[in-house]
């Protein structure tokens, strides 16, 4: 409701200054101030010297502006304390005092004096844990709330993308360029070694499915598919607000699952507007791939520039576009069976031409009605996407209903129900052997269009047509290696609240989140990994039920010291079921049915897990004079996953907020608001189900005989809960009547007793053991600046936020000093956690260097003039940024609004397997140097006595054998140079991840309602031009988008770029209106 009020207010304030002012019994104040004061009556001292009847005639005059005011009036009319009418050119608001507050006839003092507090001082209302709405001023922790506008201005298919650069302390990373990609949200750094560090999502008070799912790896074990995060099922058009609870204190009431923060999503309800309302939004977005590695188009297929073999996967071959004809991959055979040479020309658009323009159309219509007895909102949304990879896409339908009904004055029932269907005939794949890899790896002389008919004529369905037998035709991957899915999801809750007494309310609620995900992955005959085809069917079921109650007691106390308490409980039951059948050999081509599996090739997997957490919690709030607030929370969880005796854990939190400006009664023009806040909390966490005792898994059958192995990951029946302790302190201030707002937060969190699987020696009978260990510390700063640099005909509002998180591994365990979080590229890149280092560090082996003397630090080459690999793993980077800055701007001129959002991430690095692979095969521009004399190649004679001009010298020195060194003089060919320098030396393809993105832009024109009066029913028509990721600047300038550079294998590895789709920019238009 507040959101709408604020929207209204901001619209009002956009008018001429004169029109923004109103007069209330001699006091000049802005409409905004007035409205807010009316709403938060705690600030407004209604003291009158007249009787109630006289008050009715008291009016406020607002100069004419019926259009913008109408909305305000509509809203205000829903509030019993305000009456309004429109008379000719004037709007008249009449204030009716609420009976209880000023009983009729109560003699009261003199005329009304309205202070002019800043809007900050009044405090925005934010949704906090358990859905409790609180004024921002009494929170002892940093909290960020996004409005509907923030998420719907440039609606993102995955709404979590809208959080990027808007919330200090929060890192948002889309895991791919496709609009259906999952989004990783990390709040205040990675703190858990074994968990995914993703926040808990709570929709309308009910926790929902984990936001991130591991990518699905098809039967071939190479290509991976991201079926998207369940959180993306929520349509941006249905969101009323998103609150990010960052610290442990804010989230303490959500218990063990809130270790990585909580994101509270409140959906729109019908209560906002009296009467019947229909709203319609339509968006069209187009995605264009534009960030490609810098491919070379000068040299074709071959082993070296003079090579005879011009059918090679390497692009080290002869120079292109010289008028020559050479034998190529698609040379037809002459009558003697000899390949016919063809024009040796480059196809510079071979990569670009494969990707098409992606399209996303989103439509949403919502009907709402509010009456005295209740309200409802019914919304239907439809999203249709065609991906940039041919034959890929995503369709989504969502239907949501929310309703409230007042059974009588004290019993209210409400419900939120949502059904979402996501489906796709084919999702783009990532990782090794995906389309990206096959397209990027085409040599410059290959015409992508010549591959379009991907079957060998006459052998359709049996044999693919591909340039190199080692690689799949990218069109075959797109059209035949499909990864389809359907996800049907139902979420909902029913809630009843009872006003037992005016000061005592009881809420009971139960909520359900259920989805069924059916995946279907197909591989045709002649696919590289599955020459006889493959087929996988997988069904996942997820169910989570939360039932809770909350009893709130808010006594009416007439002293400045106020107390309120609440107590509640929650039971969470979670069930996850997976069922999969797969075959790596089909009997007949093109028949995708499990019955077509070759005899004995069918593999079944099944798993079922279940978990329960019971909780009780209590909240206490003490406030003094509305400027000093002490909030206490306590929660105890009992988790089924921990052993008896250790399965109960308690977590307390204390937070304090002091409005210093009120305490000291500061009434300066310069400083309108100053708040200090601090908190401490402790949060426990459990683990996954079945981590206490080992079981005996069956392995694959040996013919008709069963086999059973054992699990070498030793479980632990003595596990203890994890404990995170956190401190936070901050300042909120507002200067010059809210022209400058400032907030600063410092925090420190220590996660101890983490439940991790540490490696042991298999000689002990187990290769890993589950133990409690570690202390990971995250500390950091968050700064927010809200500026209004220009406030005249043009209003410019600018929000800047700064995030810096510093991670430190304080201890692991005495037995384990180095822990491998993961590895990639055949364990050549290792994510190691060592005491005193940071999470996110990655290590690899470097090359041997001269230790001392004049050549110290230079590469010590072997006798062939090549680099040699060192044995030790050394740190080469960390994938976390040093800091992040979000810069959000809003410019308004009359009916035109321009918004733009810039996301700047500084520091961090990533290793690119893609870069390495493309360099090794000579596909990118950075491999041109030295290829021929024109490119600086040295003249040399190779082992066969051929005189060549592609000689190069590896940087480094040679050992003279007597302890002295000399600069390298061993000439090698260009291909060997690049292969030696880049293939094994990962730091050479490790780049800085710094980037600046123009994340979102929208230019909106709001039509004048007067003009629209000619069209009955229609109102609030607005049209926007929108764009997202329009431009990305990267410090590495190598054609890779650092945000989406990651490895999507069986997990998501940050800091490593494996074959993912190229970076895209999206632009489009949005139309919204009400009826």
């Amino acid at each position: 409701m507040l959101v709408i009020l604020l929207t209204v207010c901001s619209q009002l304030s956009a008018q001429q200054p004169m029109e923004r002012m109103i007069t209330f019994k001699g006091s000049a104040l802005t409409v905004q101030q007035f409205l807010q004061q009316v709403k938060s009556q705690q600030q407004l001292q209604f003291t009158f010297d007249e009787d109630v009847n006289a008050l009715l005639s008291r009016t406020i005059r607002i100069r004419k502006n019926p259009v913008a005011l109408k909305e305000a009036l509509d809203w205000l009319s829903a509030d019993a304390s305000i009456q309004c009418r429109i008379l000719n050119n004037y709007a008249i608001l009449s204030v009716i005092p609420v009976a209880q507050k000023t009983p009729p006839g109560t003699p009261v003092s003199a005329s009304m004096e309205l202070p002019q507090p800043s809007t900050k001082a009044l405090g925005e209302v934010v949704v906090t844990a358990l859905g409790i709405k609180k004024s921002e001023r009494n929170l002892g922790y940093a909290v960020t709330q996004l409005s509907a506008k923030d998420v719907s201005d440039v609606p993102q298919p995955n709404v979590m993308n809208s959080l990027a650069a808007r919330v200090p302390g929060v890192s948002v990373r889309s895991t791919g360029a496709d609009p259906g990609s999952s989004v990783m949200v990390t709040i205040r750094g990675q703190s858990s070694i074994s968990k995914d560090n993703q926040p808990l999502y709570v929709v309308d008070g009910v926790p929902v499915a984990p936001a991130i799912q591991n990518p699905s790896q098809a039967v071939d074990g190479k290509q991976t598919v991201d079926y998207g995060s369940p959180i993306s099922d929520i349509s941006a058009d249905d969101i009323a607000s998103i609150t990010v609870l960052k610290g442990a204190s804010a989230a303490a009431l959500y218990g063990s699952r809130a270790g990585s923060g909580v994101i509270l999503i409140t959906t729109k309800s019908g209560a906002a507007k009296k009467g019947l309302g229909v709203s319609f939004n339509s968006t069209a977005m187009f995605d264009k791939a534009w960030m490609f590695p810098h491919f070379q188009h000068e040299f074709g297929s071959g082993d070296w520039t003079g090579s005879d073999n011009t059918i090679s996967t390497g692009a080290w071959g002869p120079k292109l576009n010289t008028g020559r004809k050479l034998v190529q991959w698609n040379s037809p055979l002459d009558e003697n069976g000899q390949p016919v040479p063809l024009d040796w020309v480059s196809h510079p658009d071979r990569v670009k031409d494969f990707f098409r323009t992606g399209q996303t159309f989103t439509n949403n219509i919502a009907v709402s009605k509010s009456t005295d007895a209740g309200n409802f909102r019914l919304s239907y949304g439809n999203m249709q996407n065609k991906g940039i990879v041919p034959n890929t896409g995503l369709k989504r339908d969502n239907l949501t209903f929310s309703g409230t009904y007042h059974l009588n004055k004290s019993i209210h029932v409400s419900t939120n129900l949502a059904y979402t269907n996501n489906r796709s005939d084919n999702r783009p794949s990532a990782y090794t052997e995906s389309v990206t890899m096959q397209v990027y790896k085409l040599t410059p002389n290959v015409d992508i269009h010549a591959l379009r008919n991907y079957w060998v004529p006459g052998r359709e369905g049996l044999q693919q047509y591909n340039p190199y037998s080692t690689d799949d035709n990218p069109w075959l991957i797109a059209y035949e290696e499909t990864n389809s899915y359907t996800r049907n999801r139902i979420t909902g809750n029913v809630q009843a609240s009872f006003d037992i007494r005016p000061d005592l309310t009881l809420m009971v609620r139960t909520g359900l989140d259920y989805y069924a995900l059916n995946e279907d992955q197909r591989r045709p005959f002649s696919a590289k990994r599955n020459p006889r085809g493959a087929y996988v069917v997988k069904n996942d079921h997820f169910k989570e039920q939360n039932s809770d109650f909350l009893l709130t007691y808010k006594p009416v106390i007439k002293s400045p010291l106020k107390v309120s308490v609440a107590a509640g409980g929650n039971r969470m039951d979670q069930e996850v079921m997976t069922n999969a059948q797969s075959t790596g050999i089909l009997t007949l081509p093109g028949v995708y049915n499990l019955s077509n599996a070759a005899a004995g090739s069918l593999v079944n997997t099944q798993s079922y897990t279940r978990k329960r957490i019971n909780s009780v919690y209590g909240i206490g709030e003490v406030s003094y004079n509305n400027y000093l607030f002490l909030n206490l929370t306590a929660r105890n969880d009992w988790s089924s996953t921990l052993p008896k005796g250790n399965n109960s854990y308690f977590y307390p939190s204390v937070s304090l907020s002091a409005i210093v400006s009120d305490i000291l009664n500061i009434k300066w023009q310069e400083l309108s608001y100053l708040k200090l806040r601090a908190n401490w909390s402790q949060v426990g966490a459990d683990t996954d189900p079945y981590q206490l005792y080992n079981t005996v898994p069956f392995s694959t059958d040996w013919g008709s005989v069963k086999r059973a192995t054992i699990s070498f990951n030793q479980k632990n029946s003595l596990l203890k809960p994890e404990i995170a302790t956190s401190y936070e302190a901050g300042i909120d201030a507002s200067f010059f009547k809210d022209r400058i707002g400032f907030n600063l937060t410092w925090y420190k969190t220590n996660n101890r007793n983490q439940i991790i699987q540490v490696p042991t020696t298999i000689a002990s009978g187990a290769s890993t053991m589950l133990i409690n260990a570690g202390n990971i510390q995250n500390s950091g700063w968050e700064v927010g600046l809200n500026l209004v640099p220009v406030k005249s005909a043009i209003t410019w509002k600018s929000d800047i936020n700064f995030t810096r998180n510093v991670n430190k591994v304080i201890t692991l365990t005495p037995a384990v000093t180095s822990y491998m979080l993961g590895s990639t590229d055949g364990s050549n890149i290792q994510y190691l956690i060592r005491e005193g280092t940071k999470m996110g560090d990655f290590y690899t082996r470097s090359w041997v260097k001269v230790k001392e003397g004049p050549y110290a630090g230079q590469a010590l080459l072997n006798s062939n003039g090549l680099q040699q690999q060192d044995a030790e793993f050394v740190k080469i980077g960390n994938y976390n940024p040093d800091f992040m800055i979000g810069f959000n701007n809003n410019l308004q001129y009359k009916r035109l609004t321009l918004n733009f959002l810039i996301d700047w991430r500084k520091g961090g690095s990533y290793y690119s397997y893609v870069a390495k692979s493309l360099i090794q095969d000579g596909r990118t521009k950075n491999t041109l140097r030295g290829r021929d004399a024109a490119h600086g190649g040295l003249t040399w004679t190779d082992a066969n006595g051929t005189l060549r001009d592609d000689g190069m010298l590896m940087e480094g020195v040679l050992d003279n054998g007597d302890g002295s060194y000399r600069p390298n003089d061993k000439i090698i060919d260009a291909a060997t140079y690049y292969d030696n320098k880049y293939w094994k030396y990962y730091e050479n393809e490790t780049y800085t991840a710094t980037y600046v993105k123009l994340k979102e832009v929208s230019l909106t024109y709001a039509f004048n309602n007067i003009l629209l009066q000619r069209i009955p029913f229609l109102s609030n028509l607005s049209l926007s031009l929108i764009g997202s990721n329009l431009y990305t600047w990267t410090a590495a300038r190598n054609g890779y988008d650092p945000e989406i550079t990651m490895s999507l294998s069986n997990q998501r590895y940050q800091g490593v770029g494996h074959w993912t789709l190229p970076g895209t920019r999206s632009y489009g238009a949005k139309l919204s209106c009400n009826f």
Partner: protein, 228 residues
């Protein structure tokens, strides 16, 4: 006050009676059993041992090292770099065998203990031949007593220990060798005599290998030959 009392007792009831009720049931893994039958482990141990042995013989370590085969690539196997593949595989198989023996003992099927000793000796002997000194006497005890840092035994002691294990296995097989599930025994179809022959041949091979340093090697060989 009365109302508060009711609420309080309600809260207490919810809190303390049902907070952990049914937890053990909920947290019992339904996906795989906690104990199984020894014959399933026997098939696993026999087939995995055979596959690894055959693979090594044809395409990997000793074959490549001895240049019976050439891998051309100058890879680890040809450069005396064993890597940890066999190390891990053999200890894993040894642990499966140990689990089988425990299950056999617990269910009164001593034949599995006996056959297990033969398989264990086969695998551990191969391991010590590859790596020399290895953890043996204190190995595989993580589950029993939490020893995750087993000490190394000298190869000589491992050999001695395995020789007596094989001797013991022969005796066990003689007295209680019947009872192996014939279809689960992928190697000998439950024929105890064949297992005894394997135990004794293995012992002979080991004795032959250490005969230069093991004074009683030939006496023991004779003993085996006399064993009927």
């Amino acid at each position: 006050m009365k109302r508060a009392n009711i609420l309080y007792s309600l809260l207490t009831a919810i809190t303390f009676t049902s907070c952990t009720k049914g937890f053990e049931d909920i947290n019992t893994n339904p996906n795989s059993p906690s104990v199984t039958r020894p014959e399933y482990h026997l098939t696993e141990a026999v087939t995995q041992t055979a596959y690894a042995y055959a693979e090594n013989g044809f395409t990997r370590r000793p074959a490549a090292l001895g240049r019976y085969i050439t891998l051309i690539r100058n890879n680890d196997y040809e450069l005396f770099r064993w890597t940890s593949v066999d190390w891990s595989d053999i200890y894993q198989r040894a642990m499966v065998i140990k689990t089988m023996q425990q299950e056999g003992a617990a269910t009164g099927q001593p034949a599995y203990v006996a056959a297990g000793n033969v398989l264990l000796a086969f695998n551990i002997a191969y391991l010590t031949d590859l790596y020399g000194d290895i953890p043996y006497s204190k190995a595989l005890q993580s589950v029993e007593n939490g020893n995750i840092k087993p000490t190394y035994d000298r190869q000589e002691d491992v050999y001695k220990s395995l020789l007596s294990l094989l001797k013991e296995a022969n005796t066990q097989l003689m007295t209680a060798g019947n009872g192996l599930n014939a279809s689960a025994d992928a190697m000998f179809s439950g024929d105890a005599l064949k297992w005894r022959k394997l135990a004794n041949s293995l012992r002979l091979r080991m004795l032959l290998r250490c005969s230069k340093n093991y004074t009683t090697a030939f006496t023991e060989m004779q003993e085996i030959l006399n064993n009927k």
